[in-house]
Amino acid sequence: MIADFGRITLYVAFTVALYAIVAAYYGARRGDDRWVRSARNAIIAVCPLVALACALIITALVTGDFSIAYVSQVSSLGMPTYLKVTALWGGQAGSLLFWNLLLSLFTAAAMLTKWRQQKELMPYVIVVLGMVQLFFLFISGIVESPFVRNLTIPADGNGLNPLLRHPGMIIHPPMLYLGFVGMTIPYAFAMAALMSGQMGDNWIKTTRRWTLVAWLFLSLGLILGGRWAYDVLGWGGYWGWDPVENASLMPWLAGTAFLHSVMIQEKMRMFKMWNMFLVMLTFLLVILGTFVVRSGVISSVHAFAQSAIGPFFFGFIAFMFIFSLVWITKRRESLRTENQLVSYLSREAAFLYNNFLIIAILAVVFLFTYYPLISELFTGEKGFVGPPVYERALAPLFAALVLLMGVAPLTMWYRTSIQRLGRAVLWPAVASTVLVVVLFILGVHLWPALLGFWLVSFSAALTLWEFAKGTRARMGKGENVWTAFTTLMARNRRRYGGYWIHMGVLIMAFGIVADGLYQSETQIRLTAGESVQVGGFEMVFNSVSRFPGADDLLITQADVDLYKNGEFLRKLTPEIEFYQRSGQPMTIPSARSTITEDFYVILVNWEPTTADAATFRIFLNPLINWIWAGGIVFIIGTLIAAWPDREKAPARARKPAVVAAGD
């Protein structure tokens, strides 16, 4: 019953989206506003239809309707209700439907908020967004439908993948998806600008905040993903250069390059073609990412060929690529740059260096991520690229990017003199060098660490100096420090939000360098009452207990006490969680976390025969909390930059043209 209803709903949504595309295109060509308005109503109507399909599948999940294959795959009777609801994105078919839902919501929101401002673009925006929606509806409706029935109805389902039951993993995928889908909107506006011939930077201004918000969600998704890995996967780290992680990192990189390079277009009317290319790249990487994250195709060519959705995604990506290229080529005349580069030492040149580095990083990550496929295709042998290869190749590029992050904001548009730049970097250079010397005296002797710390602190000092300069300038107007600082940020949110983001990245970078080069670990087997000394800590093993958890979970929990200098700190409880039905074990670490260091312990093994012996793995992660703290600063910065304007009119009254164009 639900299955039929759901499938019909998706078919209707498909038809409506198809109609919207045709009507919008026809209306725009004929200049007939009635067709365009009808198309708008149709594309908005897709939203409630997809929402209905989602509601149906959630109903089936909550009521345990195991006649539907998807429900029996990702849920079981014993699961708590909130997990049954979030099982909507717990499997491939469901998460693709969820993608549909988010896209239709974003599309409707774009239609309702931008309709008046961008009348000429809108029909084409409908066409592009409609095409994407149509593709995903096709996938959800026919190829990978969540409404497929089971031939025999099982008594209970398999339950949600244990990895996905952790709270972090419940919010991580929606964040990533919000970012993914959000990036579709700027792409659609860019294409609409090309198709309508309205090539100004209107599309950039209109979608600036969209892009930033989508990027915010992507960043959140990446940070939460790292945190989840650290908390749940139990390998002492937060990022493993896993293909799935890379698949979401790549659109983020392209989006980052785009966010920077649009500033040159807005200011200097340069690089229009390059921006079109970047927004297209971001979108294509989003589609590729969606596909990779869900299907695990990187593991082998055969998995790709066998997966039902593989060829369709591949075809869609190829189609959108050609579609975009055709339009960019068609309009290349109007995409000409209107301005010349005056100096290699200027803000616009700095943005270009930034783009070069980010795209280089992206290219390397892309190559390494898809190396298994390339290798298998050409040599027949499965290849693999581990973290050491990534780190070696990317470290110099990231180092250059960190340096640029600090120096670039000092440059001015058109040109900056060497002397001026030299004066500006002098004190931050001295301060960061002093810091590194102090670190050396304190015992940091690895040269990559010293270099890394110097780069990061130098850029951080420069960024802080920017804040100080701005605040001082405002204080000259008779404001106190706090007012000066806040007004500065409020009046230049995009700029100072950007600096906050840079600070967040730098704080993270400090933690990444420290943890990457100074993480230490040991593995040891202890019997009850025994203890181990690690880096000034003493860990005493008390006992192991085994008890059932929610659903079919069997928890083996160790009880250890942590001391430092003979003083009791706290009890830690690393666990092995065993999901009996799926036979999948998970090692859940337990950590004592401080701003300087994490004591992170994993229960590796417990031997029931010898009753009270257990093997532990202990990691000392220095400064790892800086990564999360930096992440928070990063998110705050993005919020500052993306926050909607409140007092638009009075502040910019002297520039009416800008007010009209800005959003």
Partner: protein
């Protein structure tokens, strides 16, 4: 041969030299600690579970493989011997750091370096091109349009261009203040 190509050649040569395998030390202790096992297992990837390093993989198969590493180390095999053994048995796909020959040498070493270098050359050429097309007029410090800024000592303080207002105003003002 232009200096540019010579540079590329040197870079490639330097890179290849850097890649010479480092000699691993043999261990002949019969009591191999978990840490020593993990030190090797860390650079191996579970052939069954996707992208999980062998040292942290919780499955039984991986536990057995770790024991195998222990046995081999105890028998006096070096770290490299063990890695080679696993690569022979299960293919190069189990190595975190793929061997530097054949496809992996080309795709993971030569190609990225070439890509970045070529990209760099292209980028430099692009920058030069943009400068070259920039009329010499800019040198004279005059402005025919607002867009082409004067190239005199003082950077243009024109605020005609849109975007965040007073972008460089603050800096200018601060500098003026500092001089006072």
């Amino acid at each position: 041969m232009t200096p540019r190509y010579r540079l590329v050649r040197w870079l490639v040569l330097a890179l290849l030299l850097a890649l010479l395998p480092s000699v691993a030390l043999a261990q002949d202790d019969s009591t191999i600690t978990d840490d020593e096992v993990n030190e090797v297992a860390k650079d191996l990837y579970c052939p069954v579970c996707e992208s999980t390093p062998l040292d942290v993989c919780p499955t039984q198969a991986c536990a057995d493989w770790r024991e195998l590493i222990r046995t081999k180390l105890a028998a006096g095999e070096t770290r490299q011997d063990v890695l080679d053994y696993f690569a022979r048995q299960y293919g190069d796909g189990v190595l975190a750091d793929p061997p530097r020959h054949g496809a992996s040498l080309i795709v993971l070493w030569v190609l990225p370096v070439l890509l970045v270098l070529l990209g760099g050359l292209l980028f430099v050429r692009l920058l030069r091109g943009m400068r070259a097309t920039g009329p010499a007029a800019t040198v004279a410090g005059m402005t025919d349009t607002v867009a082409t800024g004067p190239a005199t000592v003082a950077p243009p303080r024109v605020d005609e261009h849109r975007g965040d207002e007073s972008l460089d105003d603050y800096i200018a003002r601060v500098e003026r203040e500092l001089k006072e």
